[in-house]
């Protein structure tokens, strides 16, 4: 079995090195996609186009608007004293936020009465709308307290002083958060597709039949066909982590060995799925379609783009069956938090269990079909 498996692996490597397209899929594409996706996806919110509707036209109202928009979050694109202009700008899509300061704002503030401020937001990007509303509320609260102090009044009641500080990713750089997700997805796509397509191609070309009339044991075929891509997968993982560090300053705080170990467990699943699809598909086209329809939900459920806690509850349970989810958590843990074996034990066990199960079942299905 060793001789035969080695012969298969060697043949596989030769063909891969000769086939420029496979090489591109295996090495160039992951790097390219990491870079492109990394730059394209930016979860931070800034520069929201904003209309200032200042109907009060007083020093106080001008002051309020200027201070609020001094930061990076709001970018004033238009000013108007008429509230209808603000609504029109939102409807036309020229602005996402309209800040309305109605007449009587300064007088109310001076008199110590609640001074009305209206924030209109375009809810089609819920995230932007929420961030804008929160920012205005927080600013208004600050300004109220400021006023009280200026008048010499000290609030007698103690109040909670919330000062959020983000650990592990103090600057809240979304790219740092994003790279592990990209790494897991790329590994899945690359190893899954290459394994499935490779076998499907042999089926189509008839070379598989020629192999099957030799006494080569099916296990040698399985090992020989997956081992080279497991190695490539590990190299890709290293490549993506290195590139993540070089381009996006993603740290590597935890153990490299733990990372590699988790990577190997993860590859069991992705390669196993490749074998499974190759078993069921009659040709390359079917293999590609099947791979696509398996990969898509896996990526969506992984929480890499939309966080798991935002999903409906039943779907959150489903994500526990998604190896991509566990691998992303492990990557984030090891890269960003220096998480160790004990911290990640649940994910490692889940990943390992699924990996061994999927790989063995797929390999068995394939052997059955071949024998």
């Amino acid at each position: 079995m060793r001789v035969e498996a080695l012969a298969v692996a060697r043949k596989e490597v030769r063909q891969t090195l000769r086939d420029k397209r496979t090489l591109v899929v295996l090495v160039i594409a992951p790097l390219l996609q990491l870079t492109v996706l990394g730059f394209a996806v930016n979860l931070e919110v800034e520069g929201l186009p904003t209309v200032i509707v200042d109907a009060d036209r007083t020093a106080a109202s001008r002051d309020f608007a200027a201070d609020l928009t001094a930061g990076e979050l709001f970018e004033v694109v238009e000013r108007s004293p008429v509230a209808a202009d603000g609504v029109a700008a939102l409807v036309a899509g020229e602005a996402e936020v309209a800040l309305v300061l109605p007449r009587g704002f300064a007088r109310a503030e001076l008199a110590g009465r609640p001074a009305p401020v209206q924030v209109l937001t375009d809810g089609s990007n819920a995230n932007h709308a929420i961030v804008a509303r929160n920012a205005v509320e927080a600013f208004a609260l600050q300004r109220g307290l400021q006023r009280l102090r200026e008048r010499g009044a000290v609030p007698t009641m103690g109040r909670p002083d919330v000062r959020p500080r983000v650990l592990y990713n103090p600057t809240l750089d979304s790219r740092v958060y994003f790279v592990p997700g990209v790494a897991a997805t790329l590994l899945l796509v690359v190893t899954f597709i290459v394994t499935a397509m490779g076998l499907a191609r042999e089926k189509e070309a008839g070379t598989l039949e020629q192999v099957l009339v030799t006494p080569l044991p099916p296990s040698a075929l399985v090992v020989g066909k997956t081992l080279p891509y497991a190695v490539v997968g590990m190299l890709d993982l290293g490549l993506v982590v290195t590139a993540g560090a070089a381009i996006f300053d993603v740290p590597l705080r935890g153990s490299l060995f733990l990372l590699a170990f988790a990577g190997a467990l993860y590859l069991l699943t992705t390669l196993g799925l490749g074998l499974l699809v190759a078993t069921l598909a009659k040709n390359q086209q079917q293999a590609f379609m099947a791979a696509f329809f398996i990969i898509l939900p896996m990526v969506l459920l992984s929480g890499f783009m939309s966080p798991v806690p935002n999903m409906p509850e039943w779907l959150q349970y489903a994500t526990l069956l998604d190896p991509v989810r566990h691998f992303v958590e492990i990557l984030r843990g090891v890269l960003l938090k220096a998480a160790g074996w004990a911290d990640l034990a649940p994910q490692l066990v889940a990943l390992g269990g699924m990996g061994v199960l999927v790989f063995l079942l797929s390999a068995r299905a394939l052997s059955r079909k071949l024998a």
């Binding site: 035969e4 080695l6 298969v8 063909q15 000769r18 008839g206 020629q210 009339v213 030799t214």
Partner: protein
């Protein structure tokens, strides 16, 4: 000495359709066994069952004493197989292909290197050992496939239309290889479309619609299935005129176009079964310059006879 291939009532159905229908035969060591039949007659299906690629619906077969259903791995160890469609790796060189298939047979180290080198030498591929297989001409590809099927020195070779699409002189070279292999004691089971090639076979089985309709040496097949005397006739007249001159005449058993000419089969005791009598008959019918030559029956006559009987 028992037969290397022993087939008994082998049957394969695909749904309602019977592709191979209760076929039985034996092939001895050193024998070249030809399997003939039209497209879809069931030749490849038979081979695929004997190689363990397809399970029979009924019947049994042993290969080198191993039952194909019970011990497929032992079967695979004793056979070499060339499929109808060329199926070595086009993106590997001949040397790499041979190395891989030798490895798949469990050969390694110096032994593997020696076998690969010998195979390259024998099949005339030494000079092209590092060209990609996809760039080889058809004849060389087929010799490579044969060399690959023989790497582990199997006692039985299954060749499924090995010379389809190969140029005539390459075909002759290929058959020289096959005869040399058989001379070493290997049993060769070969299917072909080329009826002239079947003449090289020790025995020939004729498949019609999944059934093995006849099985014997080429000479016996001709003697029993198409008895009679054969002539080719020609003259300064269209073939249709030649045909009209003889159609329906007493003792004429068959008329077939043969190039520009016509082949006639006659009962041996018929009045026309004689070159002079035929020439006279053609002249009487107005054919200018009639030419008549005696000839021998070939396997095509046998085949047509069989298919004709089927249809009747």
């Amino acid at each position: 000495m028992s037969a290397l291939i022993d087939v008994d009532g082998l049957t394969r159905r695909f749904g309602d359709f019977t592709a191979v229908d209760a076929v039985s035969f034996q092939v001895e060591p050193g024998e070249i066994f030809g399997y003939l039949g039209a497209n879809g007659a069931g030749k490849s299906t038979t081979i695929r069952m004997l190689c363990g690629l397809l399970a029979p619906t009924e019947g049994r077969a042993t290969i080198a004493g191993h039952d194909i259903a019970r011990d497929p791995r032992a079967v695979k160890r004793s056979i070499g197989y060339m499929s109808q469609k060329f199926s070595l790796y086009l993106d590997l060189t001949p040397a790499e292909n041979l190395e891989f298939f030798a490895g798949a047979q469990g050969l390694s180290g110096a032994e593997r290197r020696r076998r690969v080198r010998d195979a390259l030498e024998h099949s005339g591929l030494d000079a092209r050992r590092d060209t990609l297989t996809g760039a080889l001409p058809g004849g060389l590809r087929q010799r490579l496939a044969l060399a690959s099927a023989r790497l582990h020195q199997p006692r039985i070779l299954f060749l499924d239309e090995p010379t389809a699409g190969v140029a005539p002189d390459a075909r002759r070279a290929f058959w020289r290889d096959i005869r040399a292999v058989a001379a070493e004691g290997t049993a060769v089971f070969v299917t072909t479309h080329h009826l002239d090639e079947a003449e090289y076979c020790g025995r020939v089985g004729l498949m019609v619609d999944g059934r093995l309709e006849a099985l014997d040496t080429p000479a016996e097949l001709k003697r029993t299935l198409v008895p009679g005397v054969f002539f080719t006739i020609d003259g300064d007249a269209p073939r249709a005129d030649l045909r009209r001159a003889l159609d329906g005449a007493a003792g004429v058993r068959g008329l077939q176009p043969f190039g520009r000419r016509l082949r006639v089969r006659l009962d041996p005791d018929a009045a026309l079964a004689d070159a002079d009598a035929l020439t006279a008959r053609l002249a009487d019918a107005g054919v200018a310059d009639p030419r008549v030559e005696p000839t021998t029956p070939n396997l095509e006559d046998v085949f047509l006879e069989l298919v004709g009987r089927e249809a009747a």
